[in-house]
Amino acid sequence: MKIERHKRKIITIPISSMSDIAFLLLIFIMLISLINYKKVIKIDYPEANYKEVTQADSNLEIWIDMNGTVYYKGNIVDLKSLENIIVDTVVKKPDTRIHIIADKNTPYKNVDKVVEILKLLQHRVVSFVVKGD
């Protein structure tokens, strides 16, 4: 017996507009990444024209806002917890570069609190993060 096959309709997906969709997605993700958690914690970066790249393979960022509140990964931490975090991180990865991202209008004593912890822990290098042209 001859089985008759149905002729299927060939469905084609119009893909010429895919690049348009990808482009819109790109804009969307770029906008979202601009409103990331660094901006939620309001920090005005200090500015400098001359600067070096301080990013290392392993990094630990400490943020200090205008009022001197210290943040780690977006959460408020006290100095004791910060000390423990630094110790834990450095024990796991001794090459961790520590970045201090402080608001340009914060009094220096707030930055000094963190620097003193690093000195106490005998951490040799710190990076003061700035932005500029």
């Binding site: 893909i15 200090p46 400098a48 600067k51 991202i101 009094p107 710190v126 993060v129 700035v130």
Partner: protein
Amino acid sequence: MKIKRKNRNIFDIADSGSMSDLAFLLIIFFIVIAIFNINKGFILGLPQKNSTKIVNIKDIIKINIKENGDIFYNKEKVTIDDIEKNIKEDLDNNPNLTVLLKIEENVKYQNVVNIIEIVRKLNVENFSFSIMKDGE
């Protein structure tokens, strides 16, 4: 019984023409994301707490920053532009120069960064910064 197969026309659903567009956009996306995450600034060496280093007093330049933003270069009031000029001149005369930056507690962080920028730009090897305690 022999079932006859029909030769179907091959349709390339994922048309490779627009795939290159997609790949290109992805590359741009990753480049942009990578640039966003790079921290730039100044790498500073920290001394051990309460450690001292003996330096010849002639090699020391003291820069004080006051709360109101005033800058004193060896007790002489100067502007931020003068600082660069002064350090450069002194550095030419004395390559072993040690810059000692004393910062009052409530000085804005930006003012401190301005001085650090100058010191790093001029490649001053011996640079020390510390907060000014009351009575200093």
